[in-house]
Amino acid sequence: MAMKFRTFKRHFREGAKNIWRNSWMTVASVGAVTTTLILVGAFLALMLNLNHVADNLEKDVQIKAFVDLTADESETEKISEEIEEIPEVSSIDFATKEEELESLMESMGDDAWGLYDQDNPLNNAYIIKTTDPQDAIRVAGEIEEIDNIESVSYGEDVVQNLFQFNEYARNVGLVLILALVFTAIFLISNTIKITIMARSKEIGVMKLVGATNWFIRWPFFVEGLLLGVLGSIIPIIILLTGYYYLDNNMAEMSQFSFIELLPFSPFAWQLALLVLVIGATIGVWGSVMSVRKFLKV
């Protein structure tokens, strides 16, 4: 649809004019967008960070396969070949029983385990990671079948609960955000509908003189876009300052030190952009939706 530049200018001018002409409606609509976007933005920040933390936890998921104490060197070698054949496996490390003991002593203290120095009761082990952490459970099962593997561990209970929790959290968050966005569209289209009601006469005259539906719609499109953008200014300021504060202080609070937030840059900027886009979309949609019924004359 080619539009003359002159016409484009006219639509923009009309749309902007209407923002001024219906000033209290503008305040109401912008208020609705602002409220929603603050909620949506805060939710998004929370959701994406939860996701980030969950991803990090998932990345730590590893399978430990303990080699039979009786297995000799060539048998141990063969195990690694078989593990490497499993397509989901991304990395495989070998840890001798001496290394295993060392790491145990490190975390538990020399006193308790030091006496085993001479007579190490531990197994040699393979430490395996999968490309997709979600595959860990299945791959662990496959490894358990391999000859000369004594046992396999991957923190069964924790991992399964973690995956389940992450999935719930993602779905619930998505539903909440969508619900908020739809509420905003509903609020805005209702607010704008009242102004358009007052302007239905104008639309009627435009139709009478042969204006196409798009000619009538464009100024409303522009108006909605501007309302959405205006409505996203305050939420963006709040999000940027709030996140900046959080990002700087979280690390200093020792009880939260295990939580690693997404870094302010670029995350907060991306979030701001997303909020702007959502705001503009809500505005345009709400506005264009409410003109619709007046066009069928």
């Binding site: 005259v205 435009m206 009478l208 042969g210 000619f215």
Partner: protein
């Protein structure tokens, strides 16, 4: 110019407005549409610029078949038709000039052409010196002249007037009729629904009388034919 064959209209609420209209109007004609209130005049008029769609039958305007026309094409049909209403339908916040210019903006004309044409039509209806007024500052007759100026701004082949003098005093009505006759003299077809016996019987034109959704009389240089 306009052709109706066996046109019926039944509204969604069950009211039947037209019961098989057959008639044709040639280019350049001046036609009065008369008849009692509620006889179907308004429906008849509104069908010509497709504000109302026929339930049955065929309507052709400017060789376009309105019964097969898509929604998308309706605006282009209306650009060839000027419409004048009893209640003027002017936009109260816009000046006289802007009200007329509005009709041309829709057509994406250049600002230079719009300016020239608006001043030309305002001159034609004798309101050139009131271009900056808003409608509320004008008399009823002047407002109707603005609405006529808007209707003809686009050089339509057809001008439809739905009781254009209905809200005006007799003296002003004659002024409006004089303007309509001038427009007709330039070759524009005019269809005018009216309740004014004086006008129809004085300025003799073709008269189409509609009663109970049917054309009951169609005569050149006809009489109004109703009391009141």
């Amino acid at each position: 110019m306009i052709e109706m064959q066996n046109v019926y209209k039944t509204y969604k609420n069950g009211v039947t407005a037209l019961n098989g209209i057959d008639m044709a109007i040639d280019a350049g004609e001046f036609v009065y549409v008369v008849g009692p209130s509620g006889a179907g005049k308004s429906t008849f008029i509104k069908m010509i610029f497709r504000e109302v769609q026929a339930s049955k039958g065929t309507i052709k305007v400017n060789n376009k078949d309105l019964t097969k026309m898509k929604w998308k094409e309706v605006p282009y049909l209306r650009r060839d038709i000027g419409v004048v209403y009893q209640d003027f339908k002017l936009l109260p916040k816009l000046t006289v000039y802007e009200n007329v210019a509005f009709a041309l903006e829709v057509l994406e004309e250049t600002p230079r052409n719009i300016r020239k044409r608006v001043m030309d039509v305002l001159d034609l209806v004798g309101l050139k010196n009131k271009a900056r007024f808003i409608p509320d500052e004008l008399s009823g007759g002047e407002q109707q002249r603005v609405s006529i100026a808007r209707a003809i701004a686009n050089h339509p082949k057809l001008l439809i007037a739905d009781e254009p003098t209905g809200n005006l005093d007799p003296e002003t009505s004659w002024e409006i009729m004089k303007i309509l006759e001038e427009i007709n003299a330039t070759g524009t077809t005019i269809i005018m629904a009216t309740h004014s016996k004086e006008i129809v019987n004085t300025i003799k034109k073709r008269v189409i009388a509609i009663e109970d959704g049917l054309v009951v009389r169609d005569e050149h240089r006809g009489e109004y034919g109703y009391e009141i």
